[in-house]
Amino acid sequence: MLAHTLTIFKKEFNGYFRSRLGWFIMTIYVLLVIPAVFYATDFLSRAEETLPQFFLTQNNVLLLLIPAITMKLWTDERRQNTLELLLSQPVSLTAMVLGKFLAAWALCGLLLVSVSPLWLLTAQQTAVDNAGVLINFGACWLMAGALCSICAAVSALTSHAVTSFIVSLLVCFLLSSVNFDVFLQKAHVSNEVIMRSSQVFNFERHFQNIIAGQLTIANLFYYLSFIVLALWFNVAAVAYKRS
């Protein structure tokens, strides 16, 4: 299964750059991130605020770009009539789903690496907690993985790239913005178990926790279990669409 996953990963990852979608997304990412960070923090006079500001903007920027990264993962197989061909290969659905997901996730990693000079520039201007910055990059990548996994499943369930993009955008927006605490407060729910559960399932809260320096097993477990669940859903979506 590993060899098949790797083959599909390579094909999908190279495909981003063969079709220029990868270059386009990287350009948009840099164009969105760099000016936003520099204008928001006035880099030359307040460089110490640059990196925290950068990490705080990541959830919104990735939320916009990940649907574009994943929209073609499965819809293109349908458009090109290659889905029938792919599904008739002696390859498990898990390997297919995993290969495609890892390619999208790797592209997210590349996006983050592409703005790493910002880290070096900031380090020249002011003192930087390098371990903290590394953890924050990891948090962004982990959150990107969770968003990629759910958006890939959306791509498997939709027939057109544009539909996939719009639905994924909506899903990402709901995931990151729905704050159950607000609903519970409005509904006057004060049960501690329900309140705790609401906090446990809050997507955004886990990201903010890591960014704030609270890297815990619970935060890691949340994102990893989210990814596994979404990938399982993706496998089920492909199997359902096939039948």
Binding site: A3, H4, T7, I8, K11, G15, R18, S19, Q80, N81, T82, E84, L85, L87, S88, Q89, P90, V91, S92, R242, S243
Partner: protein
């Protein structure tokens, strides 16, 4: 060898495949005939595990396609009706991708690619992007990708669709030759093709087996001058 036992597949109320029992042996080219909507494509998709049967079973080289899908498909190749290629890939990249999915790499891949490229006459386009190919080349590249690992069972849906007469002739010769040692199932609407390459004819209509015979006996049993006449005699309603 493929054994189909009591195979059924429905889509809603429509029975696409209705209680089929067929055995495909090694060393024969089988023409799968039937009018549009007869269930040919559904049968082929069932054979490659794309669809799951409602009931019955398919054994490919003694492996059950549902319970042991990956092992059953290891020595099987399928070329769908619509030329399924990745447009942004070059022919070489496409064939290599198909080979890697089959676990074929290194010298084995190079040897098979060289021989297939020659046999299917695609050497001149090996570094060309798939999206720039003519319909005829696309069809032959799809066949090359499917056969790169030299499978024992090949299922081809309309393999000569879109080819010019010379290309049709060479692809038919290639299929005939490949079928001498392997099982080749070809779905086609071109009746001259049946006589040119098939050892056996399987005719299905409305998902049911109408006849399973040789091209010669098909003509003889229906008192027909050619396969097309026999086809009409067996598939016309009145």
């Amino acid at each position: 060898m493929i054994v189909i036992k009591d195979l059924c597949k429905s889509f809603g109320d429509k029975k696409a495949v209705d209680n089929l029992n067929i055995c495909f042996n090694n060393g024969e080219v089988i023409a799968l005939l039937g009018p549009n909507g007869a269930g040919k494509t559904t049968l082929m998709r069932l054979l490659v595990g794309f669809y799951r049967p409602d009931s019955g079973e398919i054994l490919i080289n003694h492996r059950n396609i549902v319970q042991d899908r990956i092992a059953a498909l290891e020595s099987t190749a399928y070329v769908p009706e619509v030329g399924a290629l990745y447009p942004e890939m070059t022919v070489f990249e496409y064939v290599r991708y198909m080979a890697e999915l089959r676990g074929l790499s290194g010298q084995g891949f190079v040897d098979n690619l060289l021989s297939l490229a020659k046999e299917l006459d695609i050497e001149s386009v090996i570094n060309q992007k798939c999206e720039t190919l003519s319909k005829g080349f696309k069809r032959r590249v799809a066949i090359a990708g499917a056969l790169i690992h030299r499978p024992k069972t090949v299922i081809l849906d309309e393999p000569t669709e879109g080819l010019d007469p010379n290309q049709k002739q060479s692809v038919r010769a290639f299929i005939k030759n490949y079928g001498q040692k392997n099982t080749v199932i070809v779905s086609t609407h071109i009746m001259e093709e049946v006589e040119a390459m098939a050892d056996r004819v399987i005719l299905i209509n409305r998902g049911r087996l109408i006849c399973d015979t040789t091209p010669h006996l098909l003509k003889q049993n229906t008192d027909s001058a050619d396969i097309e006449q026999a086809f009409r005699a067996l598939t016309t309603d009145n």
